[in-house]
Point group: C2
Chain length 437, copies 2
């Protein structure tokens, strides 16, 4: 989706943030959330998940009485959270109205902060994407510049859509580092200088006081996206593994993201594969990341290419201006280069053997593979699959699916939008139901 040219030409405005008037925002103000009764929340989640629902569908899915569902639907219609869809077709039997989320209720933004890019998507409440924008940006520029730029872009995108800032009800952010989700703070992120404990939420809240803002680790966000809109739809227990510069996992457990006791669950890149292996930036030897992530694939290939073992890889190296990347190795493997094939297989075998352990432990229904290195393609996937099947118990792999991410380059944005949506509707303290139970 194209932005007006003047936007693209705008430089980072580091001062903007400070000039911006602090509107309603105050320290300690609760983020903007909508309280629903437990039953309303269940119905909204179901409608969100399946897109459209009739009363009869809801009765058969939930075990609630028709009376109760009717009452809740009236309330949700009154609150403008859901709408009745046009019934255009009569398919026999009784004509039944379908309900879906009200797109006009407001907007939700998903922001994916990568190491070298900012990705933004804005959707309406029905989940329809109304704006999508990407630009290169270095996360090393620090939070003030990056967050300022993100707020500027959000404001422009919202206005271009003909909306007002207060129409933005939620913002989800994915960041490439460990996050304490409960407070929205990055915890000593290795590749993000200046971001440690930076107050991301209050900063953005100043620009968008009416938005409920949540921050999570990028892999968790991708796992959420995959569960809602990707390969993982309807799968209760899922491991999303991102293979890129590093290797990390997002865990969906019983239909919910699982973050662990300190919020750092899923850090599978530092599982030990070979105690005598190469040194990892974490200080240990032979971590999965140091053996099978993008840089490891590239450096092993480069070594072999320079030693004259692969003419194809050497050609990529020379035509790229003396750089060899994991994606080049992927291309060479597709062209039939024996050494590239061997390196990809080796990498898949290591990833698969770690996943085999996790399958024995966690018994997921699906493993989704994403991240830049996954573009290497089917050879990598089949090597991973073989290693998992060889080392896992038969019962644990009987129904296990191992697939590539379906959300692709949009994974982060889609996930962040869904993360925001997950946190907008909350169950009210039961006080509202107290008088009636």
């Amino acid at each position: 989706m194209a932005l007006a040219r003047d936007v693209l030409q705008k430089k980072y405005r580091t001062t903007t943030l400070l000039e911006k008037p602090v509107r309603q925002y105050q320290e300690g103000t609760l983020p903007n959330q909508y309280s629903l009764s437990p039953t309303e929340k269940i119905l909204v989640d179901l409608i969100r998940k399946y897109g459209e629902f009739s009363k009869s569908d809801l009765v058969s899915f939930t075990d609630f009485s028709r009376t109760k569902i009717s009452t809740c639907i009236e309330t949700l219609l009154d609150k403008h959270i859901i709408v009745v869809n046009d019934v255009t077709e009569y398919t026999g039997g009784r004509r039944s109205k379908k309900y879906s989320l009200n797109g006009d209720f407001g907007l939700v933004a998903g922001v994916d902060i990568g190491a070298t890019s900012i990705d933004i998507g804005i959707a309406d409440f029905s989940g329809k994407l109304v704006a999508r924008y990407t630009e290169p940006a270095s996360v090393k520029d620090g939070p003030i510049r990056i967050l300022g730029r993100i707020c500027t872009l959000l404001e422009i995108l919202i206005k271009e859509n003909g909306s007002e800032l207060h129409h933005l009800h939620g913002i989800g952010l994915g960041v490439p580092g460990p996050v304490d989700f409960s407070v929205g703070l990055l915890m000593t992120p290795p590749i993000m200088p200046g971001w440690d404990h930076y107050p991301i939420i209050p900063t953005i809240q100043q620009w968008f006081p009416s938005a409920n803002i949540v921050v999570d680790n990028d892999v968790n966000v991708m796992a959420i996206g995959e569960m809602h809109q990707g390969a993982g739809k309807g799968v209760d227990n899922l491991i999303f593994i991102k293979i890129g510069t590093g290797i990390g996992a997002g865990i969906i457990c019983e239909g919910k993201i699982y973050r662990g006791s300190n919020g750092c669950a899923g850090d599978v890149g530092h599982i030990s594969v070979d105690h005598n292996g190469p040194l990892c930036h974490c200080g240990n030897r032979g971590c999965l990341e140091a053996i099978a992530a993008g840089p490891a694939i590239a450096s092993r290939s480069l070594e072999a290419a320079l030693a004259g073992k692969s003419p194809a890889l050497l050609q990529y190296y020379e035509s790229n201006g003396h750089i060899l990347r994991a994606e080049d190795v992927g291309k060479a493997s597709k062209e039939g280069d024996v050494l590239a094939i061997e390196i990809v297989r080796e990498s898949g075998k290591h990833i698969g053997s770690v996943l085999a352990s996790l399958v024995n432990f966690f018994n997921p229904g699906m493993i989704v593979i994403g991240g830049g290195v996954s573009n290497i393609g089917d050879l990598l996937l089949s090597s991973i699959r073989q290693a998992v099947l060889r080392r896992s118990l038969p019962l644990a792999t009987r129904d296990l699916q191992i697939v590539f991410s379906e959300t692709g380059p949009d994974a982060g944005v889609i996930g962040a939008i869904n993360l925001a949506m997950d946190n907008i509707f909350v169950i009210s303290s039961s006080r509202s139901e107290q008088a009636t139970e």
Copy 2:
């Protein structure tokens, strides 16, 4: 707790099961459960967890209004599920009544079927153990004999307690094999010939038609016991690892037992430690179980003893009638035998390195170590701890506790009683609340 002598002398009565009249039991009859409203269920769970609660405690814990809590308490008192405790002391401020579960409401049994023993405990609804009994039994005798014996023992224990069979509201069973919990069936258990898909629940239901019966894997049951009454009280995310003849794990995730997509989560004994290691009975090489469980410790020690490397181990071997067990290695290590110490350390290191991977992935708040081999003691524990700390990420181990099980030899029985209690009170379909919300 001693049983009457005539009971102990009774032989297995394999025919009893068939003679027993099929009382109310019919295929498809729902097991005996008590429906509660969502709020009542929350209150009952809280009272169960903490033993005793005043109204003010409940208000501050739950966020429900005092009015709502009062209404629920009246209902629960009417149903005789809870009782008011005597207020014997006036501690200043307003005197407040305390509520606890009503022990007289009925009985719950926990049965732990081991490879070579049957363990039974019967508790009243307040959790107080009223009967405890153990006898040797080989699980290889098959389900008809073992289940017949269990039912006989349960009947005797109940009657000795001055109760009637219909006072038994729930039975929890732990079995040493993989279980599909949703149907209560063992799935191709390796050490239980004749038990595969055997209808355990209908069999026991014939004797105890008023009891709600649930069957689960023994390690899951131990994890549940540890969470409710052991070291894991109040810990949301926990891995219970049982080290005995085999190695398995029970996973508590967000305060609930996690069974995985096929019910086989926690099968950590077959995680690969050394691709060139000894052959495991599962067909793979170098599984954790084949390297670090009881038999592996014993056989490595025996080899060394026979080679003349450890006089202490040789002495145990000879005085035991030419058998060397893992517990002997433990004893020798405590007496300072260098080789025994090395073997225990080695075993702990392997277990710890697998746990380190799981800590990176799952980020639990606690690891509890149980099972027969854990009796080896502190040397094993410290070796495991060292290996976990060496290979896990600092954030994941910051608050991690690694401790021995506190439920000890009662782990299975306590867990099974709690498993049964977990499944007696269920949330009613919301129909009961329909008219009022």
